[in-house]
């Protein structure tokens, strides 16, 4: 056997997927990505059926197909599922599938984390969707405004909330995975100015998730405290304010629209150059305008709240920002149009969907500019005009690009081609059906029909327009069914797609057909944005194993880690292998959320302990493993380390990213404190003395000491003084316990009752938030101690300690800030 054949055999063995039932324990990105996409589409079809029921109900006036209660559940679940179980997760799903190949990586840096995210998503999704079969679905609209949702909804609101918290976990897991993937796992030589545009979009969207989702987590936290324990954050009669929820929800909700939209047009940025057969016409302009859009999208949230009675000048700021965001969005669309104009367009089905996307999105964008003008919005707020607008932006801006992506990447994912004829038919059904459904809704809205009504009187003259919309909806659905059938029909007797089926220029098309489990045979040096067009020898280099990391001699799954800016190889990263642990952890966490919905606290606790045990076992056996040798030859005369700790390692970045999101959520809760201060004349209210400044001061001092001890532990461990380091970890753990006790002592000793008023409630909410993080920090400290004692963490191999210290930078900061705010701010009044 030749060397080359032996290498291939090694790779095949190492990257082989488990079979039979064990197939469900797979973690490889190409498998998880396909499951994730399938699951998202299944949820989308479910929500689509709900929409068809609604359209049938509205087809004629005074219809009695469904009751008002059922209709409430239908529209709430339709919105919730489409947004949280389809639009956001499909981004993660597609990125997990195609990103590694695009960057020339064998897998993403944390494949087990992807699998964990996937299982969380599926469990949470089934839980939320299933509720409608028990007449228990959420029914207060997909943005769950209190007081309707806190005072009147049944268990549906809890299901909405806890199911969603779970899905947020999956989103943040994906953000961690994808940001680290784009920054650290690009092929050597792929400088950041040569990174495929899809990678840039993923990076930007990942960062947006870190700042957009956490405010919703903070909102969910307050919301559930009110639902489960009657802490009155949103109850006006006890000093709360429903607008607090609206702010927290839309600080999440508006960026979310762009979190959905940007990855979808990222697909256009990959597809259009291929079919224009030329490089994109303004690479840097796309990058900078995507960054600009990412930022500006955070300044828009109040445009969902134009009719809540805020001062005109506040509306003015948000109206201005909403108009400003049209500039970078427009630049991106113009770049696409310019690329099409400068190239020789190949007429294909994906390209048809791209053009359809541009046309439809343009309409949504223009009505967006209209509703960004506050006085116009006053007129059409909560009417069908808004329904039409949001469907044009989401279907034009996200569904059509996504379907273009499915058409385009189908041969990449499956090795077969879709039918051109079925594609064209489904496109025209979808395009016509969509416009017939939603174009008349602008008029229905202008004629005064409010959204979310289950029926209307014949005297309103809305009947004809509604009938047209309903007919359109069924045409649209027919297009979808045809599309779907083309995707799932058996293609066993059809020939394989040719390699690089569309003659594309980017690296993901370098793979063989049928695809190898290990991705590329070897990792090539990249010198341009479209390596397959520019480097005619590239495929040979890859296939002959002349690139880097062409073998798996130690029987481990490995991928290259490179530097952020210039993609210089830095480390060989050993990535996770198939395991049941991610799924088990997801089921444990699922139990926590699901049992908590029915307030079954003992089962919740048991699930929590199970989750913790699984995660600890997963970490203990699968992470920061000390390699059998310090470095490895990757070919081309280069040797790279196998173990890296601190800011150059992927794990440190994952912790940094996770904690950035966590800190944002904390700041969301803190925002609640100051928001409630603004709406009250006296805050703290007259007669309330807690929590005093003494105990918070003690807590602040203890927090600094604990934090300092942790930093000292890392430094002394690195200096080889292991005994001292262990003593410092123990001291820090004790300090941690006392910090938590001192934080709670303030509100406790001053008798603050969280159910009496929003002030004690928000003080307790801050304290509980920090204390639970201190508890998690304690587990991490004990984990480090155990790793040190059992020889799995040494002065030279101290990744665990680096990461836990990093956690402490964040937690020390939030503990300190909490103590200062709850102790110090009342003194300023």
């Amino acid at each position: 056997m030749t060397d080359k054949a032996e290498e291939e055999q090694q790779l095949g063995k190492v990257w082989d997927s488990p079979r039979g039932w064990a197939a469900l324990s797979d973690v490889n990105n190409s498998v998880i990505g396909k499951w994730y996409i399938t699951a998202s589409f299944a949820f989308m079809l479910f929500a689509g059926v709900l929409a068809l029921i609604m359209r049938t109900q509205l087809a004629v006036p005074d219809n009695g197909l469904v009751s008002a209660q059922t209709y409430n559940q239908l529209f709430t679940l339709h919105g919730t599922v489409m947004m949280f179980l389809f639009a956001v997760p499909i981004f993660e799903a597609v990125a997990i599938l195609i990103l590694p190949a695009m960057l020339g990586a064998r897998d993403l840096p944390f494949p087990r984390l992807s699998a964990f995210g996937f299982w969380c998503f599926v469990i949470g999704g089934i839980f939320v969707c299933g509720s409608i079969f028990f007449d228990a679905a959420p029914d207060a609209g997909w943005f769950m405004y209190p007081p309707l949702s806190t005072e009147q909804s049944g268990i549906g609101a809890d299901i909405w909330l806890l199911g969603l918290s779970f899905i947020e976990v999956a989103s943040i897991a994906a953000a961690v995975e994808l940001i680290v993937g784009v920054l650290k796992c690009r092929a050597p030589g792929m400088h950041i100015n040569l990174t495929p545009l899809y990678g840039w979009y993923v990076l930007i969207v990942g960062a947006m998730i870190l700042f957009a989702f956490p405010p919703l987590i903070a909102g969910d936290y307050l919301f559930e405290l009110e639902r489960a324990f009657d802490w009155p954050f949103f109850d006006v009669s006890r000093g709360g304010d429903p607008l607090l929820w609206q702010h927290l929800f839309w600080i999440f909700g508006h960026p979310e629209v762009y979190i959905i939209f940007l990855p979808a047009i990222a697909l256009l940025a990959m597809i259009i150059p291929t079919f224009a057969q030329r490089p994109i016409a303004g690479y840097s302009w796309i990058v900078l305008s995507a960054i600009g859009t990412g930022f500006l999208s955070f300044g828009l949230w109040v445009h969902h709240m134009f009719t809540t009675g805020l001062p005109a000048i506040s509306l003015g700021f948000f109206s201005a920002a909403s108009e400003a965001v049209a500039i970078p969005t427009g630049i991106q669309l113009f770049v696409f149009i310019a690329t099409v104009m400068l190239g020789n367009v190949v007429r294909t089905v994906p390209m048809l969907f791209c053009l359809g996307a541009l046309a439809n999105f343009l309409v949504g964008g223009l009505t967006g500019v209209m509703v960004a003008v506050a006085p116009f919005d006053f007129q059409v707020h909560d009417t069908y005009f808004i329904v039409a607008h949001l469907h044009y932006t989401l279907i034009g801006g996200m569904v059509f690009p996504l379907l273009a992506g499915v058409q385009y990447y189908y041969p990449f994912a499956t090795g077969k081609m879709l039918s051109r004829k079925a594609g064209i038919w489904s496109f025209w059904l979808l395009f016509v059906g969509f416009n017939v459904t939603f174009l008349p809704m602008h008029l229905t809205g202008l004629m005064g029909m409010p959204r979310r009504v289950f029926t209307y009187g014949a005297d309103r003259d809305w009947g004809l327009l509604n009938m047209v919309s309903t007919v359109g909806a069924f045409i649209f659905a027919a297009g979808f069914l045809l599309f779907l059938w083309d995707c799932v029909r058996s293609k066993r007797h059809e020939p394989d797609a040719p390699r690089n089926a569309w003659n594309a220029g980017t690296l993901e098309w370098a793979g063989k057909v049928p695809a190898d489990q290990w991705g590329l045979r070897s990792i090539p040096q990249i010198n341009s944005r479209y390596p397959l067009w520019d480097d005619k020898n590239l495929l040979d280099t890859i296939d002959q194993g002349r690139g880097l990391l062409a073998d798996a001699a130690e029987g481990r799954r490995e991928t290259l880690v490179t530097s952020v800016l210039d993609a210089e190889p830095e480390q060989v990263l050993r990535v996770g292998t198939p395991s049941w642990l991610p799924a088990m952890a997801a089921f444990g966490l699922g139990g926590v959320f699901i049992f908590a919905t029915w307030k079954l606290w003992w089962l919740t606790l048991a699930s929590g302990i199970f989750f913790l045990a699984v995660v600890l076992y997963w970490l203990w056996t699968g992470t920061a493993e000390i390699p059998e040798k310090p470095s490895k030859d990757i070919g081309d005369g280069r040797r790279l380390p196998l173990y890296v700790a601190g800011p150059r390692s992927t794990g440190w970045w994952a912790m940094f990213i996770t904690m950035t999101g966590d800190l944002t959520a904390y700041l969301g809760v803190l925002f609640g404190y100051f928001f409630l201060w603004t709406v009250h004349e006296n805050f703290p209210p007259a007669g309330v003395s807690g929590p005093g400044w003494q105990w918070p001061l003690v807590a602040a001092i203890l927090a600094i000491a604990t934090w300092g001890a942790m930093v000292a532990a890392r430094l002394s461990n690195a200096a080889g003084r292991v005994g001292l380091a262990r003593a410092l970890i123990i001291a820090s753990t004790i300090g941690n316990v006392f910090t938590a006790l001192a934080l709670m002592a303030g509100p406790w000793t001053s008798g603050l009752d969280p159910t009496s008023h929003s002030y004690p409630a928000i003080v307790w909410a801050l304290v509980v938030w920090v204390v639970s993080h201190l508890l998690a920090g304690m587990i991490m400290q004990l984990y480090c101690l155990a790793r040190s004692i059992f020889g799995r963490m040494t002065p030279a191999h101290d990744a665990d300690l680096w990461n836990v210290t990093l956690y402490w930078h964040f937690i020390g900061f939030s503990a300190l800030l909490t103590a200062l705010v709850i102790g110090g701010f009342p003194l300023l009044q």
């Binding site: 400088h191 100015n193 490089p279 000048i313 948000f318 920002a321 500039i327 341009s528 800016l565 603004t678």
Partner: protein, 135 residues
Amino acid sequence: MSPQRAHNEVERETGHGTDLWRVIAAPIIWALHFLFCYVFVAVYCEKAGRTADLFEARLWVMGATALALGAIFWLTLRIWRVRARSVTDDDFEFEHNTPEERHRFLSHAALMLCVLSAVAVLYIVIPALYLSTCR
């Protein structure tokens, strides 16, 4: 597209790890300015009542705007000084595989984001120019 250098390219500075932060510096200034304007005026109106005159708040907003525009201008000047960063060079593609090119690319993106951020800051201040009460 190819590894060769652009025809008139000379040895240039390459920047370093802070390049990425500099790209988002101007948008961060926009975000801070935006947050300041919104939060300051919201708190001002909440505490002063709906009939209150906005004169003082508008002065603050305009002061913040001057500060933000000044900061963005300063950033722009610094990026402008990166040799051959963008508009004065005849190459807008930034597609060579060298650290210099990467540096020029990021500087170009940073420069144009300065422009975009300045425009967005100006947009934000418009309502403060003509609204005179908290109504």
